[in-house]
């Protein structure tokens, strides 16, 4: 994900956790980074590292930022946990010249198999919660995200699907195969102005 960010750019990391990515970007790419994080502990950790992070969440706080405030807005493995994924994505594309989004793929064959043959809601290493206590309320597949991007008028500049081991799937695979074999996918997108 860090490799998608150009050096010396302005970055907003939504759901930045303890600030590991922001710190990496600052140290290796001289990025001017900001973060939003829900947990007080996460914010404290970030502030103690000298990062500029506000306590908040994607649903409530993106609306406050002006247009084109950042070169990149990053949302990692969080879109499925937002109340309004479409609105969140639209705000990201508004306040950032580019958005970087990673999503867990609900279309992976193991998940399909658990639903189809087990008849139960899937629980995997990457989606480890039971249905009743999961923060992930808006699951999507890789194909669903591509459709959402199209619906909000975004252009996908780059995309990569990662297998269970975190290795990129070969570009020659068809989208159908990505949707079946990808554990997660990362997208770099922008909206035409």
């Amino acid at each position: 994900m860090a490799e998608l960010v150009a050096p010396k750019s302005r970055v907003l990391d939504v759901g930045c956790g303890d600030g590991a990515l922001l710190r990496l970007l600052a140290e290796e790419r001289s990025v001017d980074g900001r973060g939003i994080e829900l947990s007080q502990q996460g914010v404290n950790d970030c502030v103690a590292k000298g990062l500029s992070v506000i306590q908040g969440d994607a649903d409530a706080d993106l609306v406050d930022y002006p247009d084109d405030a950042f070169d990149y807005v990053i949302l990692s493995q969080t879109l499925q946990a937002t109340r309004q994924p479409r609105v969140v994505l639209e705000h990201m594309l508004r306040i950032g010249r580019r958005a970087i989004v990673s999503v867990p793929n609900f279309g992976h064959w193991r998940i399909r198999a658990q639903v189809a043959f087990g008849g139960r809601m899937p629980v995997t290493e990457s989606l480890a919660h039971s249905w009743y206590d999961t923060p992930n309320i808006h699951f999507c597949t890789i194909a669903d995200f591509v459709a959402l991007a199209r619906d909000v008028g975004a252009t996908i500049d780059k995309s990569v699907a990662l297998d269970l081991a975190g290795h990129p799937l070969h570009r020659m695979f068809s989208p159908w195969a990505w949707n079946l074999l990808g554990d997660q996918a990362i997208f770099l997108l922008h909206r035409k102005r």
Binding site: N44, V47, K49, G50, Q55, D64
Partner: protein, 390 residues
């Protein structure tokens, strides 16, 4: 007038001859105030802790709250109690006196040595009383800036404060963006709310209703309007706590008695506590000063000075901000801090924001709250690193 000293309580004595360092500016250079008044002579009473480095890059300015003063980390000269922010200021603490030079001045209009309504009016030779011009937060900051000039400091590493102190922090960052490297406004707002103005008005009316207030001329007439000020303090003190903290501390417990007395004695512990808070406050604070301090907060509306846009106050600011609020603070609720954060974001500023979970209400900023101390330490240390201060 000759017997004035005998009539003064601790605060009034401090306002004439403070146990503090003082900057005294002569009549040649009056302070231009928002009200249009020109104030001279001017005294700024202040305390410092730690040592200023050769580059003068390690100075932190602490701004005190409504009833605070410059005695941040030393015993109070009137009450003998520890400094009001000793949790925060000292060796190894977030405002580390081994590394930083910490300054705190009594605000303009205060009663601990800086010029205020208990100071002598050069035109009459008597205490100003209500002839003292109305003070604003911006006026306080102007007076502080004169002190910082006097100390030869160009840019402050950090300006920090809670409540009214936080208002001064925001005003500093707006008025002197290039002189504030980092800003730490805690439990504060960029404008005083209607509800808070209402509470302040109750306090002022309590003071003015005291027959000993004498239209503010009590120092000249030899009376002490302690009742009114005490009531003002009691009412205000409730707003500094939270319902759950009051309940946790006092419940409906009775004070030194087994049963109700069927009288208006302070049967309940909470009554006794409030009366005590009122009584000790009166010993150290000047009633007229209380009127001026509350007015300064009421008048504070930073956006109004920037065409109604708070973002405009911080546009292009290179100051690093860390905004802190407390979940149980109903005087300066988190929504006030969020409004500031929104404006800072809209202005493109570098901002951190932490809402700290506590039931201790507005007063949490003065108390030993570990998350506040950790956040502050992290923020100050990071600012020091960024500025190359060891």
């Amino acid at each position: 007038m000759g017997d004035l000293g005998a009539l003064l309580n601790g605060a009034a004595t401090q306002s004439v001859s403070p146990d503090s360092l003082t900057l005294r500016l002569s009549s040649n250079s009056p302070l231009r105030m928002d009200s249009g008044a020109a104030l001279a002579p001017l005294t700024v009473a202040y305390q410092t802790y730690g040592a200023l480095n050769a580059a003068k890059s390690n100075a932190l300015l602490v701004c005190h709250a409504l009833t605070g003063d410059q005695h941040v980390a030393n015993p109070h000269p009137v009450t003998g109690r520890p400094g009001w922010w000793e949790t925060m200021v000292g060796p190894g603490k977030p405002f580390d006196t081994n590394r930083f030079f910490i300054i705190c001045s009594n605000v303009l209009g205060g009663c601990m040595g800086s010029t205020g309504p208990a100071s002598l009016n050069p035109e009459t030779g008597e205490p100003y009383g209500l002839d003292f011009p109305i003070v604003t937060i911006a006026d306080m900051v102007r007076a502080q800036a004169l002190l910082i000039d006097h100390l030869g400091i160009d840019t402050l590493l950090c300006v920090a404060g809670g409540s009214m102190g936080g208002m001064q922090v925001l005003q500093w960052a707006a008025t002197y963006p290039d002189r504030v490297f980092a800003a730490l406004p805690i439990a504060t707002a960029a404008r005083h709310s209607s509800q808070n103005i209402a509470f302040h008005e109750v306090g002022r009316q309590a003071i003015m209703a005291d027959p000993d207030w004498r239209h503010g001329r009590y120092l000249v007439e030899g009376t002490r309007p302690g009742k009114g000020l005490g009531v003002a303090r009691m009412a205000a003190h409730i707003t500094y706590l939270s319902e759950s903290a009051l309940h946790r501390k006092f419940g409906r417990n009775l004070q030194d008695r087994a049963a109700r007395t069927f009288s208006f004695d302070a049967d309940f512990q909470v009554e006794s506590y409030l009366r005590h808070q009122g009584a000790i406050f009166v010993e150290r604070f000047d009633p007229n000063s209380y009127l001026y301090m509350t007015r300064a907060m009421d008048y504070f509306d930073l956006a109004a000075d920037y065409g109604g846009s708070l973002a405009g106050a911080f546009k292009g600011s290179r100051t690093r901000f860390c905004v802190v609020s407390f979940t149980s603070d109903w005087l300066f609720p988190t929504s006030d801090s969020r409004a500031t954060v929104r404006a800072l974001n809209a202005g493109g500023a570098s901002v951190s924001f932490v809402e700290i979970e506590t039931d201790r209400g507005h007063d949490a900023f003065l108390l030993d709250v570990p998350e506040l101390i950790d956040t502050t330490k992290g923020f100050i240390d990071a600012a020091a690193r960024a500025r190359g201060v060891d």
